[in-house]
């Protein structure tokens, strides 16, 4: 049965961060998820279509680049569901950026860690969570989901993006 990881406000809405949901396609899994948590319907769908603002990843690929709701799922597939960010905030996923390193940057930049694990920076609040790693062939690349909210979100987001810049060869 496919596994679904939920992030940020989706966790508040469902009270869970991970669950297993039946379905042979992305659409079937999301429909079954909505059956179990009706409050997720307006978060995930616009009419019958996947809401523009929601990010649904299958093994690290946005399903919009695959076959959308018709994307077939293997029984062992993992879907990552990211909510839209309210209040002009920014969010995204970074590869090969360990959470401890982001915490190091945030502390170095004057951030303060709160009891719920989020960080406050002047004019912004940063949340992050380890997402399912991107598995490609014999490689596995850790993924970190990061969200920045607040009046100064843009400036801090830019700083995080620069720090997270990586490449390869």
């Amino acid at each position: 049965m496919p596994k679904v990881n939920l992030y940020a406000t989706f966790r508040d809405l469902t009270g869970t961060s991970q669950l297993q949901v039946e379905g042979r396609t992305v659409g079937e899994v999301l429909a079954n998820l909505v059956r179990r948590y009706p409050q997720m319907r307006e978060e995930l769908f616009e009419g019958e279509a996947l809401a523009e603002r929601v990010s649904v990843f299958l093994e690290g690929r946005d399903v919009r680049y695959l076959e959308g709701l018709s994307t077939p799922l293997a029984p062992e597939a993992t879907l990552d569901l990211f909510p839209p960010v309210a209040g002009g905030g920014l969010e995204g996923r970074f590869g090969a950026l360990p959470p401890w390193l982001l915490e190091h940057y945030l502390t170095e930049w004057g951030g303060r860690k709160l009891a719920d694990g989020t960080y406050t920076l002047p004019g912004a609040r940063v949340r992050f969570a380890e997402a399912a790693p991107l598995a490609v062939g014999s490689l596995s690349i850790p993924q970190l989901w990061v969200e920045v909210e607040g009046e100064e979100a843009g400036a801090w987001w830019k700083r995080i993006v620069l720090a997270a810049s990586r490449g390869g060869g």
Binding site: G60, R61, D62, Y65, G92, R93, F94, G95, A96, L97, P98, W100, L101, H104, Y105, P133, L134, V136, G137, S138, L139, S140, I141, P142, Q143, V161, L162, A163, A164, S165, R166, G167, G168, G169
Partner: protein, 607 residues
């Protein structure tokens, strides 16, 4: 005075036999750092109009401010010159210990000009460079030269050498050190051959290791860099991460499944049996040992054994690019014959990527009747491939034409369209129909088609630093600029490209600041990279690569991919170029004066 440097560079004139020494200008060090950047600066000052194979061409052997230190993955050495293959400025990097030992021997670089009448080699030791007769070494393979010079100068001596291909001015001849580490691309070995320079021996001991100007900051910088490289979840993690376990060749199965592996001279985008030349297969069936470079915990180098006609050949390394070029691109996936071809290219001192392309172009030309000589070969002819590699190195038969490079060969037989080249340099192992970012990266690379100027598969395959759709062209121009600038900087430090899978501008800035002894910001890192990339482009513009020089082979634009993962795809180059030029602030591939001034290049050039 900035820390990390020996503050000594040798200027060697092989025509007169004179050696002079100078301290690099501190302003140049701050603007161009070392390695690739500083080398490009010196090649620029030498003038863009020189004949690459003439005595006036400048051959720079450069290390960086972190070379020879304990900085992780700092074992790279830059060879910078004007390329005889492309006519552009080129830089090529090798791993091993030469960069570290050059620093310990008292040097930030060697600038070699002129041409000797008889073969020579250089001995670099204790802050001095001496020129020695190499008549007895001329004609020998790189492996033989390494052995003979280590017998002469001791096992601790580091040897980098050219092979018969460099002597015979094969336009894609390279340098090899530590037996198998290649500064592969752009024909820097032919430049050495034109100067009758067979080898460089470097003797240096670790007690000359430079110390950081700010030891406290260094402790912190090194701790962070080490921790992220060793993070068990990162691909660089020793003995755990995919790059450490399988080396570069972990990609073979992945690109094959994605329809992003050019095969049969890119007439197809996958091949049956790719597994047999993959990193996974090699690890299970041919691996002897995981080797490494100076200060590197990753150990991506793989010592392997192959078996040909009853003989066992041990060599390093069965890299992804080499295995593709001499296997899949040539229409076969034979584990042993591909390995043997890699071994021979290393022995002859030839770039495996360009050699593989030469083979593939000849195979397509033969099958289509474009080349009708008796020595033509068809796809999958493994023994024929070995014959042709030798013919190229010694310029025999069709090998003499191919030694000029696949682009010149294809043009000479009247079918330039079958050469998969940009600015005269052939493509590496990624098909831009299955990885669109590679299309813009190849087209805009300053040294001709190349995966190492901007490694967009990091994002398109691995999700680093963020995931993009490999089949989408949008955003790839912006991504390419970021990668080009970041890599121009790390090539100047000179750190391994693999470090970028774990480190970013914050980590690099801290390490450089600790050595330089003054603050360095992540923004400055990318600005330096941008400056170097623009200086290279300016050089190329002056050398004749101006408007219209950023192109792709027609095959990628017109012939759709035929394999699952990318079936039906073509490369949307024009759309990506528009986005890229906008990001760069260039006018159709030409750097405008305002950009040169903004980056401090023009005022300095005018000084």
């Amino acid at each position: 005075m900035l820390g990390g440097y020996a503050h000594r560079i040798a200027r060697i004139d092989l025509t007169s036999g004179k050696v002079e020494y100078f301290a690099p200008d501190p302003k140049d060090l701050e603007m161009y750092v070392g390695g690739r950047g500083l080398g490009v600066k010196y090649v620029f000052e030498n003038g863009p109009q020189v004949d690459p194979l003439g005595p006036e061409n400048l051959l720079c052997i450069m290390n960086g401010p972190l070379s020879g230190t304990r900085a992780k993955m700092s074992g790279r050495l830059a060879v910078v010159t004007k390329s005889p293959l492309t006519g552009t400025v080129t830089d090529s990097h090798m791993g091993g210990w030469t960069a570290a030992k050059l620093k310990w021997a008292g040097f930030d670089g060697l600038l070699i000009k002129g041409a000797s009448e008889k073969p020579v080699y250089l001995l670099v030791k204790d802050g001095e460079v001496s020129i020695h007769d190499a008549s007895d070494l001329w004609g020998k393979t790189t492996h033989e030269v390494h052995r003979l010079l280590q017998e002469r100068h001791g096992k601790e001596a580091d040897v980098m050498a050219i092979g018969p291909a460099g002597e015979n001015l094969v336009r894609f001849a390279n340098w090899l050190n530590n037996d198998e580490r290649a500064a592969g691309r752009g024909g820097t070995g032919a430049v050495a051959g034109s100067k009758k320079l067979k080898a460089i021996v470097v003797v240096g001991k670790q007690d000359k290791m430079p110390q950081p100007k700010d030891p406290e900051l260094w402790k912190e910088a090194d701790r962070l860099a080490s921790a992220t490289i060793n993070d068990p979840k990162n691909v660089t993690a020793p003995k755990k991460g995919g790059l450490s376990l399988y080396g570069t060749n972990v990609l073979m199965n992945i690109t094959n499944v994605m329809g992003a592996l050019p095969t049969y001279n890119a007439q197809h985008t996958c091949i049956e049996g790719a597994e047999k030349i993959s990193g996974e297969y090699i690890r299970e069936h041919r691996l002897i040992k995981d080797n490494t470079c100076h200060a590197c915990p990753v150990a991506c180098k793989k010592m392997v054994e192959v078996h040909i006609n009853g003989k066992t050949i041990r060599f390093e390394s069965y890299e992804y690019e080499s295995a593709w070029a001499l296997g899949a691109h040539a229409g076969h996936t034979d584990t042993d014959w591909t390995g043997y071809a890699i071994y021979l290219c290393n022995a002859f001192g030839m770039d495996t990527i360009e050699a593989g392309n030469a083979i593939a172009v000849l195979m397509e030309a033969t099958e289509k009747g474009y080349y009708q000589g008796e020595d033509g070969i068809r796809f999958g002819d493994k023994e024929g491939e070995i014959r042709i590699l030798e013919a190229i190195a010694y310029r025999k038969g069709v090998g003499d034409m191919l030694a000029e490079g696949p682009a010149r060969f294809a043009k000479a037989i009247g079918h330039p369209e079958i050469a998969l080249e940009v600015k005269g340099q052939s493509i590496p192992a990624y098909d831009p129909r299955g990885l669109k970012g590679m299309g813009i990266a190849y087209a805009t690379s300053n040294r001709g088609a190349c995966h190492l100027r901007a490694y967009t598969p990091a994002s398109e395959i691995l999700g680093v630093p963020y995931k993009t759709d490999p089949l989408a062209w949008e955003g790839k121009g912006k991504l390419t600029k970021l990668f080009q600038d970041l890599s121009a900087f790390t090539d100047s430090l000179d750190l391994c490209k693999f470090s970028q899978f774990a480190e970013g501008p914050e980590e690099y800035a801290k390490q450089l600041a600790a050595y330089w002894g003054r603050p360095v910001s992540p923004e400055e890192i990318l600005k330096i990279g941008e400056r170097i990339y623009n200086l290279e482009r300016y050089y190329n513009n002056l050398a004749g690569w101006a408007e219209g020089s950023d192109y792709l082979p027609k095959r990628f634009l017109e012939e759709p991919s035929d394999c699952a993962g990318s079936k039906g795809q073509r490369t949307e180059l024009d759309l990506m170029l528009e986005e890229y030029y906008r990001e760069r602030g260039w006018e159709k591939g030409v750097v405008p004066p305002a950009k040169l001034q903004e980056l401090g290049i023009l005022s300095q050039a005018a000084d």
